[in-house]
Amino acid sequence: MPREDVAQFTIESVQVLSEDGTVDEGLVPSLTDDQLLDLYEGMKRSRRLDERAILLQRRGELGTYAPAIGQEAAQVGSALAMADDDWIVPSFRESPALLARGTPPHRILQYALGMEEGAEIPGGEGALPPAIPVGSQPLHAVGVGWGEALQGRSNVAVTYFGDGATSEGDVYEALNLAGVYDAQTVFVCQNNRYAISTRLENQTNAETLAQKAIAAGIEGIRVDGNDALGVYRVASEAIERAREGEPVLIEALTYRRSMHTTSDDPSVYRESAEEDEWEARDPIVRLQVYLDDRGVLDEGTKSEIDERIDAEIAEAIDRARESREEVDPADMFRYAYAEMPPELERQFDAFGGGADG
């Protein structure tokens, strides 16, 4: 036959918790009340940190900061689906996922204070530092997922990036390599609709971002990214597949409610009507309605959580501020190489670093 269809594909989309707070009982992941509260608290903690960080930046205390307001379900939902010894390979907007994985909030603030201390990875933490170039880090996640497989371990790497990153060649190389090497890797693309000011329709002509997986021969799936339960379910399934050497690309449909970074003014490129529409789909409110209905979250628990988070963030701010006072500029020489080469040592001595040690 001269012409025939040789391949056909579909992309599945999942939503468990609808916008009005009702659930599809057949799809609800089996989470205990405590796990549900962790999910809620993780999202709240991140929201609070972002709000405080924006204010600190406005007061001139922090450098440029990239808030993730609106994307908490996509991140916390997927991060809590990971096992303790899995790896997270983040971009620069992953404070919700990092916090959910146990990164202390003062480290996120240290990074925003321009301190490498915030990107320090103590042994065995299973995280790589924030990646600033768009779309470069999924390759590292494939290296991690492949490296774990080569050493006979079942840990997976979960990497995060945005819709804009899918235009970068490295993301395609990463999806392709993951497929070729059966890397134990899950790609979480948070389609938050904007790459700074560039809308999705100017980013790609593809109908979904999940279908970017198809060309690489790996599975792609879409989930409502403002539905914490849906994300948790899809991510859990993807992580289990990845453990078996089958990488998955998840497209989480969400919305970046605030600015790209604190240097950005979204009012220039988007309408407030659109922002209002997405405010009504807020992932935290949606889960809260569900938890209220389910009787898991009463007013007392809610204020307990809020107070705990406020205290934690206040302490983290103090801690980050204090550590800023202790910054030793000579440190920049100490970590460029495992052992300082002679020419660097000469520069270090000229800098005055050699004098005290």
Binding site: W87, V89, E116, E117, A119, E120, I121, P122, G123, L128, P129, A131, I132, P133, S136, Q137, L139, H140, A141, V142, G143, V144, G145, W146, G147, E148, L150, Q151, A157, G169, D170, E173, A174, N176, L177, V180, Y181, D331, M332, R334, Y335, A336, Y337, A338, E339, P341, P342, E343, L344
Partner: protein, 322 residues
């Protein structure tokens, strides 16, 4: 037991020895597995180490970027980029991540990767198969840049590169791969950052590395003077002492490289000589280099590459000055 090997065989035997020594070493790259590399420098390794030698898709950014993750899990990646010019496609990974990961994590994550890549002209290759971008790599803090100039040097330097805790760009001079044999010891490690005084002399110092060392040795044969020839072997870190010590003795210096002149390593070496041995100089430091043009295709390649005549002329200018 020492064996007579060509450079390409020295690469292979070194990789084999490191795969044998350390089961964390992973060798991968385009065509390195089944085909054994387009230059055959990995031939047979996949048969012996099927779980640690891999073919890779044509994806240079990917090949470099994977190293960050592999290293984070505790492995030692030793990828090959088939020709140095195609490392441009992975340069962003090299500069943005590989070279910086130790610094930005304050020493908690390193990338002990050795990227092997054939470089340079003289084999009548296609366009964009003959570049020497070493100064570009040396300009990225966090990287080391290493040049073997013979089979035995290859063994010693590649062994050290693979064992080094930091990322190394290992520049293999394509034209020397099969040009001569040399006795290569079984156990051989040459520390990175130490130059070799190839020939001792009193009248003029010539600094050359990789394939240009061979041209320089040819040129020196025709020069009626006592020439000290130094092979720095690594251009980052550079063994400034050995070079400046020699210049203090000879008072004259010629730096040879096949990369374009502007912003090339000869400029850096000249600056260091100015800083450390200025008052000993009896002539300006001479540069014998490629030109500031894209490396031409092979019909004009010989006109571009420094050869023994140009090097001898440069030595002559340094000797005749004043």
């Amino acid at each position: 037991m020492a064996e007579q090997l060509r450079m390409v065989e020295a690469v292979r035997e070194t990789l084999r020895a490191e795969l044998e020594r350390d089961d964390g070493v992973v060798v991968y790259g385009e065509d390195v597995g089944r085909a054994g590399g387009v230059f055959r420098s990995t031939q047979g390794l996949m048969d012996d180490y099927p779980d640690r030698v891999f073919d890779a898709p044509v994806a240079e950014a990917g090949i470099v970027g994977l190293g960050v993750g592999l290293a984070a899990t505790g492995l030692t990646p030793v990828p090959e980029i088939q020709f140095q010019s195609f490392l441009y496609q992975g340069f962003h990974q090299l500069a943005q991540h590989v070279a910086r990961i130790r610094s930005r994590t304050r020493g908690t994550v390193g990338c002990p990767m050795t990227i092997r890549t054939p470089y340079g002209g003289g084999i009548h290759a296609l366009e964009l198969h003959s570049e020497s971008f070493e100064a570009g790599f040396a300009h990225v803090p966090g990287l080391k840049v290493v040049f073997p100039s013979s089979p035995a040097e290859t063994k010693g330097l590649l062994t050290s590169a693979v064992r080094d805790p930091d990322p190394v760009v290992f520049m293999e001079p394509t034209r020397l791969y099969r040009s001569f044999r040399e006795e290569v010891p079984d156990e051989h490690e040459i520390p990175l950052g130490e130059a070799r005084v190839v020939d001792a002399g009193d009248d003029v110092t010539v600094v050359a590395w990789g394939s240009m060392l061979r041209e320089t040795l040819d040129a020196v044969g025709d020069v009626d003077a006592s020439v000290e020839v130094i092979d720095p072997r690594t251009i980052y870190p550079l063994d400034t002492e050995t070079i400046t010590e020699s210049v203090r003795k000879t008072g004259r210096c010629v730096v040879v490289h096949e990369a374009p002149r502007t912003s090339g390593m000869a400029g850096e070496i000249t600056a260091r000589i100015n800083e450390e041995a200025f008052l000993h100089l009896e002539a300006p430091v001479e540069r014998v280099t490629g030109y500031d043009v894209p490396v031409p295709m092979f019909a004009r390649e010989d006109a571009y590459l420094p050869d023994a005549d140009r090097i001898a002329a440069g030595i002559g200018r340094a000797l005749d000055f004043g």
